[in-house]
């Protein structure tokens, strides 16, 4: 226990709390919190669906939970079931084999719901495109509110996408 506490003390707090180091990032983090609080009463619940990615986009979604981004600290939580979710975060081109599962997940998510498509693949089908095995972009299968490009998009870009989706929902 002593070693754990010592290591925690040595590490200190890494979360990039609205810092002065990077103005544009700070705005993202803070506005996100305000929007979340205003519209989701302190808790935005996201269900991630990998619809056929190369798994690169998942690396960055997972990175959102590391101490630097600490996405849960902003009131955003990844949940285990679409029935608990306000938003679907969808990665990959949609493989034909995931098409049904994605549709069902969408239907299982209660209204009002938001969809953010992630990565070049989610936006356009990316390098995999459309084929006998791939439906291409996410919006070919379910309605999409916001699409975040990048291969994979960096964690801040993903946070920005989530924020944009919340604003779209307001109007």
């Amino acid at each position: 226990m002593y070693q754990i506490l010592k290591q925690i003390a040595i590490t200190g707090i890494k979360t990039e709390a609205p810092p002065t180091t990077d103005e544009s990032l700070r705005v993202v983090a803070q506005r996100l919190k305000a929007e979340v609080l205003a519209h989701f009463h302190g808790a935005l619940a996201i269900r991630h669906v990998d619809a056929g990615s190369c798994n690169g986009c998942e690396l960055e979604i997972n990175a959102l939970s590391n101490p630097y981004y600490n996405i849960e600290g902003l009131g955003i939580k990844f949940v285990a079931s679409p029935r608990h979710a306000d938003m679907l975060l969808v990665t990959g081109p949609v493989s034909r084999h995931m098409e049904t599962a994605l549709r069902r997940t969408y239907e299982a998510t209660p209204d009002p719901k938001l969809v953010v498509a992630l990565g070049d693949c989610g936006c356009t089908g990316g390098i995999f495109g459309e084929s006998y095995a791939s439906c291409g972009r996410v919006s070919n299968v379910i309605p999409v509110d916001v699409a975040v490009p990048g291969c994979p998009p960096a964690p801040y870009a993903i946070m920005q996408g989530i924020l944009t989706a919340i604003i779209v929902a307001k109007t």
């Binding site: 754990i4 990998d50 990615s53 798994n55 998942e58 939970s65 493989s95 034909r96 995999f128």
Partner: protein
């Protein structure tokens, strides 16, 4: 040269790794596999091609690691079938079924003839990798029925999980047959992410293919990009400048460290120690930021290209990496000790999800999971291509075969990779980092073979006219290890599955293709 006394004529392919290629008939096909297995060799990959447009047949190929070299044997299967080798190498089972789904070639005598990669996206008698397959005519989604193995008996019930899972992981279906909480059987169903990668390659030039190769399994982008580049360099007969090769090793070891840090964090987290995830994922984020600052991409995608590498490192960059290494070594050593001393963690890790050494060897467990079960295989040590021949890897091997052993192998490999990186940085040769790739001859065959963080990644590449890809088969080590995960959970309880699964951390995308 002759392949032993089997009367098989094989010739060495140009390239960085010792790869030999020969054509066989059906009898030699089986005999060669038996011979390699009995001599302690292993199955690396199995795939098919369609050469009917060249007046030849459908063809099946097997890559066997045997006595410090790779033997690629090709069998023209005029009658649409070839002798089963799953009875010799159990890991061939799913590969053979995938060859049937994609090309319509059957393994004669195979016990398991169920489909594997095909769900409902294309009909049973249509084969996407055939030359005459019309990609524009997409097939309508049908109903997908898969004959799972039924376990029956008093008190047995089934728990189906997925394809969409509770966490941020890739999709796949797991069917547990349980009594109470104990697992009697686990059956995996994969293929959900099949997005036609191999067909896609065939629409690309050799240069374009590099990007796609780096996206077969994003978490192993460096290993794939290197293997692909190696294959292209083989068919075009070039050797990248020495500095490029040393930088590739730097990238590969950084990828390994990054993934191992991540897995160690998540294994701690899945066993209830969130502290571990916070600590390890912080170190990893530091590395990703260094990657972005020095090499332009957090995961080093597209940094390796045929002919060399796209990014160099200067003296300041080397200083930054050195500084970071010191921090990682110090922290990993501390965290490793904390993990080992943590009674709650060890209670979950030790004896959990065990693969015994004899099973691992017989069933073909590979890569880091293999090394945690006493299978001492690592290309970097056994068949080192430049610069590993000069770096001298100390292979990490443990025999426990449980979650604890897989955690230890990771922690020790991090320390070893950090040592390699220090050697790379102090001995980095000065030269160009990229040379031009000349035109490739048509119908040339090349192989790339690289020890990624998960295990050995193989790329088998055949050229078409005008520098185009005629066929490219990427092989992920997950093919070999997925079936062993089914075995690892036997006798464990269902709630331990996420931890066991994480301790393997296999690629869905890499095997679904």
């Amino acid at each position: 040269m002759r392949f032993e006394d089997l009367q098989i004529q094989v010739t060495q392919l140009p390239g960085a790794m010792p790869v030999w290629h020969g054509c066989v008939d059906a009898d030699q096909w089986r005999e060669a596999c038996l011979h390699v297995r009995d001599a302690g060799g292993r199955l690396v990959a199995l795939w098919g091609t369609d050469d009917t447009d060249r007046g030849a047949a459908l063809c099946v190929h097997v890559a066997l690691a045997w006595q410090s070299r790779l033997m690629v044997l090709s069998l023209p299967a005029a009658k649409g079938s070839y002798p089963d080798i799953a009875a010799i190498f159990p890991s061939a089972n799913r590969m053979q079924r995938a060859v049937h789904d994609l090309l319509g070639l059957r393994a004669d005598g195979a016990v398991d003839q169920r489909k594997w990669l095909r769900h409902a996206a294309w009909p049973e008698n249509t084969f996407p990798l055939r030359r005459d397959f019309d990609d524009a005519a997409t097939c309508t989604n049908g109903v997908d029925a898969y004959p799972f193995v039924k376990v029956e008996g008093e008190g047995v019930h089934e728990i189906p999980v997925g394809p969409v899972h509770a966490g941020t992981i890739e999709p796949g279906h797991f069917r547990f047959s349980v009594v109470g909480e104990g697992v009697l059987k686990l059956e995996e169903r994969l293929g959900y992410k099949h997005k036609g990668i191999e067909k896609r390659f065939e629409s690309m030039t050799l240069a374009q293919g590099a990007r796609l190769a780096g996206r077969v399994s994003g978490d192993s982008t460096v290993a794939y990009a290197w293997a692909y580049a190696m294959a292209v360099e083989g068919v075009t007969g070039i050797t990248p400048p020495p500095r490029a090769l040393w930088l590739r090793a730097l990238f590969l070891e950084r990828e390994r460290i990054g993934q191992h840090l991540w897995d160690l964090g998540y294994m701690g987290n899945d066993a209830g120690l969130a502290f571990g995830l916070a600590q390890f994922s912080r170190l990893r984020e530091d590395m990703l930021r260094t990657n972005a600052a020095l090499f332009g991409h957090r995961y080093l995608m597209d940094v390796i290209c045929p002919g060399g590498v796209a990014r160099d490192v200067d003296a300041d960059g080397i200083d930054r990496i050195r500084h970071e290494l010191k921090e990682i070594v110090k922290t990993v050593v501390t965290l490793r000790a904390i993990y080992i001393d943590h009674a709650g963690l060890q209670d979950r890790f030790v004896d959990c999800g065990r693969i015994r050494q004899d099973h691992a060897a017989r069933l073909g467990l590979g890569g880091l999971a293999g090394r945690a079960s006493g299978v001492a295989c690592d290309l970097r040590a056994q068949i080192p291509s430049s610069p590993y021949d000069e770096l001298g890897l100390n292979m990490v091997v443990r025999t426990g075969g449980d979650v604890a052993a897989r955690a230890t192998v990771r922690a020790d490999e991090i320390v070893e990779s950090l040592r390699l990186i220090e050697r790379i940085l102090s001995n980095l040769p000065s030269s160009d980092i990229l040379i031009q790739t000349p035109d490739a001859p048509e119908y040339a065959f090349g192989v790339g073979w690289v020890e990624g963080w998960r295990g050995e990644v193989l790329i088998a590449l055949e050229t078409g006219a005008a520098n185009r890809i005629r066929r490219c088969h990427p092989h992920d080590p997950s093919w070999q290890n997925w079936p062993l995960l089914e075995r690892a959970v036997l006798g464990n309880i269902v709630p331990d599955f996420p931890l066991i699964n994480k301790s393997f951390n296999l690629s869905y995308s890499g095997q679904d293709l």
